[in-house]
Amino acid sequence: MLLIYCPYCQEERPELEFAHAGEAHIARPTNMADISDEEFETFFFIRSNPKGLAYERWRHVHGCGCFFNAVRDTVSDKFLATYKTGEPKPDIDSLTKKGDGK
């Protein structure tokens, strides 16, 4: 069971309180009705699925209820950072230099 730092509760909580919510930073087009089939496919179906650092969404569904973002290494499953929804992607280089993400 992972231990996940909730940026709203400001502490690590057990995975059982969280729901994974897919890839992060896929903004819903503001002109939704007008996008092309390809753009819709990219928005709704295509995923980065990286082996390595992934930006992803979680919801502290059985905690504070908030959605937030995380950077996690999908090989080690270690979290490098979690941050609030709406905040920009953290700088990967500075995160990886910090080492074990603890």
Binding site: M1, C9, P14, E17, H62, C64
Partner: protein, 184 residues
């Protein structure tokens, strides 16, 4: 004229205990879910007579101790009034942006008390419930077994376990089973 309907709480008759821990149903309380922007917090606190805490995992009590406000999320509080007072009315007067929803009947609670209280909850709650990590007054939405609960630590050996009404049989059944285990 028909007679006024009586309330029937689902935990009626649910009680269990051992030498080190007891499980008892909490009496009816009124409850309010408050969602609010920062500017409404102070006026709402004033209107309700209890401070809506701003630190995660903390709660605050009114002066008479009967009303508790629990931080559940950055813009979410659960207010519990053990005297059963109307909580909607005072909020209605607050003009600042907020949402108040009466959930007095949505939630019910069990009181788990005694030296073995923490151990009983640790049978199904994955959070760190030690006094250091979860001190008196701490509160949190979390999991107990397979259901969501809100835990409040009333004192070192007493927890209030708030949960949705329909999960009563499960929560009581789980705790009653958990306390059979004598290890604390």
């Amino acid at each position: 004229m028909v007679e006024t309907a009586a309330m029937i709480l689902p935990h009626e008759g649910n009680a269990a205990g051992t030498g080190v821990v007891t499980i008892t149903p909490a009496a009816f309380a009124s409850r309010l879910s408050i969602r609010a922007r920062a500017e409404a917090v102070a006026p709402l606190s004033r209107a309700l007579g209890v401070k809506l805490p701003d630190a995660p995992k903390t709660s605050a009590k009114s002066r008479n101790g009967k009303r508790t406000a629990l931080w559940l999320g950055p813009d979410e509080w659960l207010v519990i009034d053990e005297a059963g007072a109307d909580l909607m009315a005072p909020c209605a007067k607050v003009k600042q942006l907020h949402a108040a929803v009466d959930i007095s009947h949505r939630n019910v609670a069990l009181i788990v008390s005694g030296k073995g209280a923490e151990a009983a909850l640790k049978a199904g709650c994955p959070q760190n419930l030690s006094l250091e990590a979860f001190p008196v007054g701490a509160c949190s939405r979390t999991m107990l077994g397979k259901v969501e609960v809100v835990l409040v630590r009333d004192d070192a050996e007493t927890f209030r376990v708030e949960h949705w009404r329909s999960f009563s049989d499960y929560v009581f059944g789980f705790l009653a089973e958990a306390i059979r285990d004598p290890v604390i």
